[in-house]
């Protein structure tokens, strides 16, 4: 069976869940070969093999951390030359989409970003399902030239443990001369909240203008913790300085597609809906019965979130015992 190259998203060797989903997608198209880059790449092998990777190409060169984007393009290009895959898959993220696009250009291949699903078409080549215009349309697209390069959004496929051969190989990369163009001068790690990452969380609890203050995000955090979810925020709440931008859900922030999305004090402007409308189950709590968010919900409560949310948190905690 043909090989499909899967570019691994990991943090110091800890593989992030969307990559495991990507391995499920890859197996629909062929045999997954993983490429892991950067510090800790070698430690990803076991979990990748446990999810179907037949080979794992590894490079821990310092260039990946010291310079932006281009070293990873060089490395994935090298992996493509070695493997000759029928498709290259990335997890959708700001940086990965850029790597994917530059790789595609070098390969003279088409690129598709932000697929919400990928299937094998009649000829076995990938067909990508995307969501357009704030999720009001679903499109099906193909790459018509070269090796399809596709980025896939988190929560697009189930994680399926399956044994792969998992042969680990060192990937030797000749970095292009221009690789040092964009330097990383310093890096400060984000403080970990202990909560799941927003874009990959199965449950997201978001707060908006209706919270009235930054302190009141404690209500949202408590509910998120009771459910084991991530915390999101509307643009209004972020612009007011109530919560960090990294948590913004919407057109100009992150797009999320969890199993459960709970919006509290969020009216549901089109920009916000663009970032959460593909959530499987949607719950909203808002005191304005006319808020557009209620058009999307599976379950909604018209009421004051300051009483409804704490009651919900308490009830969830009690049920979970």
């Amino acid at each position: 069976m043909a090989d499909v190259l899967v570019v691994v998203d990991h943090v110091e060797g800890s593989v992030r869940k969307p990559t495991l989903e990507l391995l499920t997608v890859a197996r629909r198209l062929g045999t997954p070969v993983a490429v892991a880059l950067g510090a800790g790449a070698g430690q990803t092998a076991e979990v990748l093999a446990g999810h179907g990777a037949s080979r794992i190409l590894v490079s821990e060169a310092s260039e990946f951390a010291d310079f932006l984007v281009v070293p990873k393009v060089d490395a994935v290009q090298r992996a493509v030359e070695l493997v000759d895959p029928v498709a290259v898959l990335f997890v959708s993220s700001g940086e990965n989409k850029e790597i994917a696009a530059r790789l595609a250009l070098r390969l003279e291949s088409g690129v598709i970003t932000d697929a919400v699903d990928v299937e094998a078409g009649e000829d076995g080549r990938p067909v990508a399902v995307q969501s357009a215009f704030a999720a009001s349309y679903t499109t099906r697209s193909r790459v018509t030239r070269g090796i399809p390069v596709i980025t896939v959004k988190p929560n697009s496929a189930p994680v399926e443990p399956v044994e792969g051969a998992g042969a680990v190989e060192e990937l030797a990369v000749d970095f292009a001369a221009g690789v040092r163009g964009a330097r990383v001068v310093s890096r400060s790690a984000r403080e970990s909240t202990g909560r799941p990452e927003l874009t990959e969380a199965a449950i997201v609890v978001s707060g908006g203008r209706g919270l009235g203050s930054g302190e009141n995000f404690a209500l949202i955090e408590a509910l998120a913790d009771a459910l084991g979810g991530a915390v999101g925020a509307s643009r209004a709440a972020v612009d007011a300085g109530w919560y960090p931008h990294a948590h913004q859900v919407g057109q100009t922030g992150k797009s999320v597609s969890p199993q459960l999305y709970i919006a509290s004090g969020i009216s549901g402007a089109i920009q916000h809906r663009a970032g959460m409308q593909t959530s499987k189950t949607i719950v909203a709590i808002n005191k304005d019965a006319e808020a557009p968010i209620f058009d999307l919900v599976d379950y909604g409560v018209v009421g004051d979130l300051h009483t409804v949310v704490p009651q919900l948190t308490e009830e969830v905690a009690a049920r979970k015992g």
């Binding site: 850029e98 291949s109 310093s186 199993q259 709590i285 599976d298 004051d304």
Partner: protein, 262 residues
């Protein structure tokens, strides 16, 4: 030496309008009003701030590729304070994918001459967010993208890039391509004076011939991807909405339990 800044902007269908697709599965531009992409306003703003910091020893040229109406996006940027505009328009561009578009933009940027190209983080219609990276690859210059802060000093552009796991301070020698996020700073509104001044500013009109590009490299003919189908998403079936009479939270918990979330 004067700093030549080119800002790339896009004219997009208004997100608050009824966006959709035309019969040939390209974006419908007839049925909905267009405007300068909101995310590109941040790029214009940062270009103007960099220019102002250079004490007038800089020029800001706004570039757009698109049909006739797209000139409106250039006009808006000029009224915000940009110095000159370029509008690339050609019937053969219809149906271009991001590869074709990036080829045209790269050719136009090269023809205009640049030290720094500033882009928004993504368009608000296609939302791919890859054009700045493709431009850097095509132009063979450094790429600093997704910046929440940007400045230029001594021939070096630097900024801050906020990722999921870390925030990075990054820099590159000019020439370079940068893209900025909506965190980079609120875009200014055009002043009356700005609007009046914009009427006198020059907008050059270029076509494929001017850029010495073959028509088969762009448009639907030159696209490396194809859209096979478009479906309107089925409206969500109406959910249950209840009024809180004191048990609202418990009601949600009951619903979550019925869906096995708790």
């Amino acid at each position: 030496m004067s700093l030549r800044i080119v800002v790339c902007v896009k004219y997009v269908p208004d997100a608050s309008g009824d966006r959709g697709f035309a019969d040939d599965l390209t974006v419908d531009r007839e049925g909905v009003d267009g405007l300068l992409s909101e995310l590109d306003e941040y790029a214009v703003e940062q270009a103007l701030r960099i220019s102002e910091a250079a004490d007038g020893d800089a020029s800001v040229t706004v570039l757009t590729v698109g049909p006739e109406d797209a000139r409106e996006a250039v006009r808006k940027a000029l009224s915000m304070g940009a110095d000159a505009g370029i509008h690339v328009e050609d019937d053969d561009l219809h149906g271009s994918d991001v590869m074709g578009t990036s080829l045209v933009v790269a050719s136009a940027v090269e023809r205009a001459g640049f030290d720094l190209v500033v882009c928004g983080m993504a368009s608000t219609d296609g939302v791919m967010g890859v054009l700045p990276a493709l431009l850097a690859e095509r132009l063979g210059v450094a790429q600093l993208s997704l910046l929440s802060e940007v400045s230029v000093a001594g021939g070096v552009v630097s900024g801050r890039r906020d990722g999921d796991v870390a925030s990075e301070v990054v820099e590159a020698e000019l020439p370079a391509v940068v893209s900025v996020t909506d965190q980079s700073g609120e875009a200014r509104y055009p002043s009356f004076k700005g609007i009046m001044a914009a009427k006198k500013k020059k907008v050059e009109s270029w076509d494929l011939e001017e850029l010495e590009l073959d028509a088969e490299l762009v448009g639907a003919a030159g696209a490396w991807t194809a859209v096979d189908g478009v479906e309107a998403r089925a409206a969500r079936s109406a959910g249950t909405v209840v009024k809180d009479e004191g048990e609202g939270g418990r009601g949600v918990a009951e619903f979550l339990a019925s869906r096995k979330f708790v």
